[in-house]
Amino acid sequence: MVDANQEVKSAKPVYRNIGLAQLVKYRLPWAGKVSILHRISGAVLFLMLPFILYIFDQSLASELSYQNFQSITSNVLVKIICLGLIWCFLHHFCAGIRYLLLDLEIGVEKHEANRSAIVVFCIGVALTAVVGLKLFGLY
């Protein structure tokens, strides 16, 4: 029995200074997935800042530019890009609030932290779906 347990333990791969090839096979816990998605969504928002500011500019500058804003955002490709950015914002927002709560030592226990990571991921996707349905005029 003891031997069997030890065998199971030794079969589990141990990574130190993980490489790219191992990264593909490595299964992150939910908190890890939410964390790397937090980083990726933040980086995407950073890179898309000029686009976001341009859209904001067009929506605000004048009546005429507002019409331009409407015609830009009625394009399906632009809508898909916007929906991607909306997911980035919502995920970054929800995961960020989770970090603020963790900083206040709320939900730092292992199973709680795992559950809150799943909740954050699901809320991000669900809110994106709600906004997406509105964006594509389904309600």
Binding site: R39, G42, A43, L45, F46, L49, P50, L53, F56, D57, S59, L60, A61, E63, Y66, F93, G96, I97, L100, D103
Partner: protein, 121 residues
């Protein structure tokens, strides 16, 4: 004296290094949460999306200043996050420093554009 000590006082690594950035990232995050709530509440009250309503909201001086503070918070927050990414993944100092400089210039340009947008309305 440890060998990584640079200058008479400053340590490049060690306790409290990065604490300022850490706390600024959290404060700026809270500012952005507040702004998001303000926008959501406005959307819930006005209900419809028209140019008059949207431009009217941002022609208000208080909203202009709140939006500018939020934008500055956003760019500072982004700087800390992007700086962390460069520090984590880019090891050669020359490339990392170049990327950091371009990130700062990019964000300053974004801030200038944001001011221009807000004070046109």
């Amino acid at each position: 004296m440890p060998i990584y000590q640079i200058g008479p006082k400053r340590l490049v690594v060690g306790a409290h290094y990065g604490l300022k950035e850490w706390i600024i990232q959290r404060i700026t995050a809270i500012v952005m949460v507040v702004f998001t709530v303000v926008l959501l509440v406005d959307y819930c009250i006005t209900g419809s999306a028209t140019y008059e309503g949207w431009a009217g909201l941002f022609s208000n001086q208080f909203m202009k200043l709140l939006t500018l503070v939020t934008f500055i918070s956003l760019f500072y927050h982004a700087w800390i996050g992007i700086r962390d990414i460069w520090m984590d993944y880019i090891k050669p100092v020359s490339i990392r420093l170049t990327l950091q400089v371009f990130s700062v210039l990019y964000l300053v340009a974004c801030a200038a554009y944001a001011v221009q947008i807000l004070w046109k309305v």
